[in-house]
């Protein structure tokens, strides 16, 4: 019972719960904003990759995207965070809060992964849809935006949800750049008395609950999309 009492004292009496709640908010914030940036970047890369390559510009763009994806998939996210926070920021002489750096790096990183998800989603839509769009005189980008991408979203929603879950869990590394997320909040509680059993088990439970919640929400969304399909 000693462990429990220590935890209780640290969590309630010394306001540990406040740090935890703030950390939780930071965790969700980084993951959600990171995913939004990732979806934007990923969609652009995916469209560039499926673009017809007659002209020189799309070819150059594709090479740029290839390099980008190779870098962000080929190096650990911790390293990217460290480079962003300790190398790029001083070099460019800007001061940003660690949270913002984390959001940007998570966005850039997930963009590389989402681009592949998006590409397979776009390719799963019948080629005739794009063709019909072009045949009535829409430009490639307009046809993509109005016809192909809306249809691909339904196909990729489960995989996109998976990416969100990965991001949520991956945020546990942001303490490397002095950001207090939920992991760091619980570690601080443990550090106070060198009593780690309950803080870390609770931490695991917190992540589990978040992930289960997201899974549930995605199921709900999927079912709704399917329902609209049937009632069409």
């Amino acid at each position: 019972m000693k462990a429990w009492n220590v935890f209780y004292k640290q969590f309630i009496t010394y306001n540990g719960y406040k740090t935890v709640l703030n950390g939780l908010l930071t965790t969700v914030e980084i993951a959600v904003l990171g995913l939004i940036i990732g979806i934007l970047i990923g969609t652009i890369i995916a469209v560039v990759k499926v673009m017809p390559k007659y002209k020189i510009l799309p070819k150059i763009l594709e090479k740029v995207c290839d390099v980008y994806v190779a870098f962000f998939r080929g190096t650990p996210m911790v390293v990217q965070l460290l480079i962003g926070y300790f190398v790029l920021m001083p070099a460019l002489n800007i001061m940003l809060d660690g949270v913002y750096v984390a959001i940007i790096i998570f966005g850039l990183n997930s963009g590389a992964y989402v681009s592949e998800i998006m590409r397979s989603g776009i390719q799963s839509v019948d080629a005739g849809q794009l063709e019909a769009g072009r045949a009535v005189g829409l430009s490639f980008w307009t046809a993509m935006l109005k016809i192909v991408i809306p249809q691909s979203i339904k196909n990729i929603l489960p995989t996109l949800g998976n990416e969100f879950i990965v991001l949520i869990k991956e945020t546990s590394i942001v303490s490397f750049i002095a950001v207090t997320d939920v992991t760091k909040a619980f570690r601080a509680i443990g550090d106070a008395n060198y009593e780690y059993i309950i803080p870390y088990l609770t931490l695991a439970l917190v992540y589990l609950v978040i992930v289960l919640l997201i899974t549930f929400l995605i199921r709900l969304m999927e079912r709704r999309l399917k329902r609209s399909e049937r009632s069409k």
Partner: protein, 282 residues
């Protein structure tokens, strides 16, 4: 046969198309006149669909020229999107936009085109405003045209009007997945009509339909033909070609082998390959 007005809509000169090493089209010349109903027939794999798709650059021609509206569509510098608005296309697989309801399927392109035109005028007006700042001579602004809301309303009214003509106005809010093949194809034709095209290309419009539904689509196409629409039709419906077309073209091995008025074409074919083909399909 009604005397056709001999104004050229599309003029195709020496069109060739290679897929890699394979030569699919080996130099096709064809003038499409206003009001023409051209039926293109031929054995499968002869390049007739490829030829049709080259006309509006769904496939890019390897060499040759496609003259339309005073510009060569085969030239990569030409803004193909502008010209495609005036060349309708109907596909074998209908290709209605699955994420949009019937009404939006029809209005999507007209609304976007009108909006883009409006944006362009707004940009020009901005330039004029800027120029007016620095010069004493004031330039008048350009007419902006309809509001976006009115653009939408007009397009919808027109779409409903077109849907009424094919007795499908009750399906305006339905999604393509709930429609039959014949209904989809008729809506696809209406979608092409909504752009007021100068010519419509039909790529085997009845080949993916149940036999029961072929009739309703052909009926609509006949009505278009009677209204004087210029049509190029790749088809296997010999009866339809004979009845509606004023020119029938037989393509074999990537070339136009024979062209004639339908009466001559079907009763008195000259080419050996065509005789053989007709004996099999008629």
């Amino acid at each position: 046969m009604k005397e056709v007005n001999k104004e050229t809509v599309i003029s195709i000169k020496g069109l060739t198309k290679n897929f890699g090493e394979k030569e699919v089209l080996k130099g096709i010349d064809l003038d499409i006149f206003n009001g023409d109903k051209i039926a293109i027939i031929g054995p499968s794999g002869c390049g007739k669909s490829t030829f049709l798709r080259c006309i509006n650059c769904m496939e890019d021609a390897t060499s040759g020229a496609i003259w339309f509206d005073g510009e060569n569509l085969a030239d990569m510098k030409v803004d193909i999107n502008v010209h495609r608005q005036k060349i309708g296309m109907v596909f074998q697989q209908f290709n209605l936009f699955n994420n949009l309801n019937v009404l939006d399927n029809i209005t999507l392109a007209p609304v976007i085109v009108a909006k883009n035109k409006r944006k362009k005028i707004q940009r020009q007006n901005l330039k004029i405003w800027f120029k007016n700042l620095f010069s004493k001579q004031k330039t008048a602004y350009l007419e902006l045209g309809d509001d976006i809301k009115i653009i939408k309303e007009k397009a919808e009214l027109k779409a409903i009007e077109l849907l009424k003509q094919i007795q499908l106005e009750e399906y305006a809010k339905a999604y393509p997945s709930t429609l039959s093949g014949g209904q989809k194809q008729r809506i696809a034709i209406v979608r092409a009509l909504a752009m007021d095209p100068k010519v419509i290309l039909f790529d085997e419009p009845t080949s993916a339909l149940d036999p029961e539904m072929v009739g309703e689509v052909l009926e609509l196409m006949k009505r278009l033909a009677n209204d004087g629409m210029t049509m190029v039709i790749v088809t296997h419906e010999m009866g339809f070609a004979r009845e509606v077309a004023n020119r029938v073209i037989f393509i074999d091995g990537g070339k136009i082998v024979e062209e004639n008025a339908p009466s001559e074409f079907f009763t008195n074919p000259q080419n050996e390959r065509l005789k053989d083909f007709l004996s099999k399909v008629l």
